[in-house]
């Protein structure tokens, strides 16, 4: 069942919350999220499809010129929407340990 992106109280599964945390922490494409969370591809990508459908995240393609310059195929990047950020804040209360699992971008830079 589709979630309401405008309702931050929407309950997320642990996996979805983990992926939102990873995105918020700067892991912005599928494989990096897999590496960070340890979840298999068969879990991460379907979960990201659902999050995108629920308008908690959105995706965009990397520019072809950048990929060509690095001699690799372009990637699809994901980022949190405003609704996703609000839901993430709500999920932090529900899953307080996630904060420890995935350090934020700021913490990693220190």
């Amino acid at each position: 069942m589709a979630r309401d992106a405008k309702n931050p109280e929407t309950k997320l599964s642990h996996t979805a919350a983990l992926i939102l945390h990873a995105l918020d922490a700067g892991f912005v494409y599928g494989f990096s999220i897999m590496e960070m969370t340890g979840l298999p591809s068969g879990t991460v990508y379907p979960a990201m499809r659902r999050l995108e459908r629920d308008e908690l995240i959105r995706s965009h393609w990397e520019r072809q010129a950048i990929a060509d310059a690095e001699q690799r195929p372009p990637r699809k990047y994901y980022k949190l929407t405003a609704g996703g950020k609000a839901t993430l804040e709500a999920s932090r209360k529900r899953y307080p340990l996630l904060e420890r699992l995935i350090p934020s971008e700021e913490a990693r830079s220190i």
Binding site: M1, Y29, G30, F31, M34, E35, P40, S41, G42, T43, V44, Y45, P46, R49, R50, R53, R72, P73, P74, R75, K76
Partner: protein, 510 residues
């Protein structure tokens, strides 16, 4: 050794991704494959670089590719659920109202397109003056032979009448007719029913003698002194192909020339005799002794005596004897589609309790208090269904009645009356039955009927059908036979302990 293995791995990876891509809906497939191929490049760089790939790394890449199947299945399921979104509307109040709205739009569109309905609702001045009666001999019906002699008519016309203030006489004769459809063409010949009428007939009926609005006025120069005929609309269409320039044309009728003055609108002159053309002012009562028809206008005193569609009239004959006559109201005889519709709806409402119970079931056993908002919602939905049904019945019955114009207005009226009655009766029955089988909380149709007990054996026990609201709000008990403790259907409101059964389908209450 390493290079062929590398190529085989590459083929395997792409083979897995392309196989998984077959499960992805076609319009998403290209982008999906592009993303996975892009990701695969990075996975291979990280786990199994070409120069130092380990078996573990290769298996990781294969595991990554196998995950593509789960992703593709996820997208396939999402597309399927979108396709089912309309199916999910099944049984909803919105779907019900949409279907009724579609039927209403279709029947209205038919009403706009059918020529019979357009003629019925045309802007022509088709209604005759009120308080007109057709006077005939006692025992005559509306369409029987003419029964009033010219002598009787002259006698009535010449004396002061307390019940009537205007008379018009007409008689119908069969006349050979010759007319030219187009210039330089041989004239067509036919035999018409010619209505020879008093000059005041159309004035009495309230229909203008000239129809310059409906047909183009022709120059009166052509045969200005000739008698004038007014064609019936049926004749105008059948014989002249609805030619708008027919006015002013000359016709040879019964050995003399007459000029076409106009066309009488269809339906306005539904007088007996099946007249094809009217010849006004020919003093029909003076010229012949053949009986004819008399149209009379009622005075206020006459209207007070006219309780029903027919009234008995005692008239004094010229020789002093009394004759029993019958006055038939023209208005009552030719009711409008609207009055027929209202009458049939009234009859259907009277007959409704005979074919179904008008009760909507018992709600009194509800342990929870249903909010006023939900009650208003429930009654609004019932009202909306009935409101949509009534115009549907009107337009469908009008479409049915006017689908064939050749059957005559009288038969059309019967068809409209019967179809309105039937559609309204069974339509209202459906409205009530549908309402009885909708959850009072969410207004969705209850489903999954289950038969409980055997009605033939256990008269005093509960037996009947149980149906479930798929939103998990209610359970409906419909008894097979009314018993001492279970006479009508009842709703059982389910509490929250039932929710686990409806985890995936629970609908929010409105």
């Amino acid at each position: 050794m390493r290079r062929p293995l590398e190529s085989a791995s590459r083929i395997l990876h792409f083979g897995l991704l392309h196989s998984a891509a077959l499960l992805v809906p076609e319009r998403q497939r290209a982008e999906w494959l592009r993303e996975w191929r892009g990701e695969l490049w990075h996975v291979r760089q990280a786990c199994a670089p070409a120069e130092s790939a380990s078996w573990k790394g290769r298996f990781e890449v294969i595991g990554f590719c196998l995950g593509a199947f789960q992703d593709s299945l996820c997208l396939r399921r999402a597309a399927h659920s979108r396709r089912l979104s309309f199916a999910a509307m099944t049984g909803t109040p919105g779907q019900c109202l949409m279907i009724l709205g579609a039927i209403l739009a279709t029947s209205y569109a038919f009403a706009l397109l059918l020529p019979g309905v357009r003629a019925e609702r045309s802007l022509w001045p088709r209604r005759v003056n009120p308080n007109l009666v057709l006077i005939q001999a006692q025992g005559s019906n509306y369409n029987t032979r003419p029964s009033v002699t010219p002598a009787q008519f002259r006698s009535w016309e010449g004396h002061w009448q307390s019940y009537f203030d205007g008379f018009a006489f007409y008689r119908v004769t069969r006349e050979p007719v010759a007319f030219a459809l187009r210039a330089n063409r041989p004239p067509a010949e036919a035999a018409w029913n010619l209505g020879r009428a008093s000059s005041n007939l159309f004035l009495l009926l309230g229909i203008p003698q000239r129809f310059s609005d409906s047909v183009s006025s022709a120059s009166s120069a052509a045969g200005g002194d000739l008698p004038e005929v007014i064609l019936s609309e049926k004749t105008w269409k059948r014989q002249f192909g609805a030619d708008p320039h027919v006015a002013g044309g000359l016709i040879r009728m019964g050995g003399r020339m007459v000029r076409i003055a106009g066309v009488a609108p269809d339906g306005s002159l539904d007088l007996p005799g099946a007249v094809d053309a009217w010849l006004l002012g020919s003093e029909p009562a003076a010229a012949s002794k053949a009986p004819g028809y008399v149209v009379a206008h009622l005075t206020a005193a006459g209207q007070a005596e006219m309780w029903t569609a027919c009234v008995h009239i005692a008239a004094t004959e010229p020789d002093g004897t009394e004759d029993d006559l019958l006055g038939i109201s023209l208005e009552e005889w030719r009711p409008s589609p609207e009055s027929l519709y209202l009458f049939a709806v009234f009859l259907a409402l009277l007959a409704l309790p005979a074919i179904t119970t008008v009760s909507l079931g018992e709600y009194s056993v509800n342990p929870q208090k249903i909010s006023w908002a939900r009650r208003i919602h429930r009654w609004s939905f019932l009202g909306a269904k009935a409101t949509l049904l009534l115009p549907i019945v009107y337009f469908v019955s009008l479409d049915l009645a006017c689908a064939c114009t050749s059957i005559g207005r009288e038969n059309q009226a019967y068809i409209q009356l019967i179809s309105t009655f039937g559609l309204c009766l069974f339509g209202l029955r459906w409205v009530l039955k549908d309402q009885r089988q909708r959850c009072p909380v969410c207004m969705h149709c209850v489903t999954h009927p289950a038969q409980v007990g055997q009605a033939s054996r256990t008269f005093l026990d509960w037996n009947g059908t149980e149906m479930m609201c798929m939103g998990g709000h209610t359970l409906l008990h419909v008894p097979s036979l009314p018993t001492s403790w279970f006479g009508a259907q009842r709703w059982l409101y389910l509490d929250t302990s039932w929710n686990f059964l409806f985890a995936s389908t629970t609908r929010p209450a409105p």
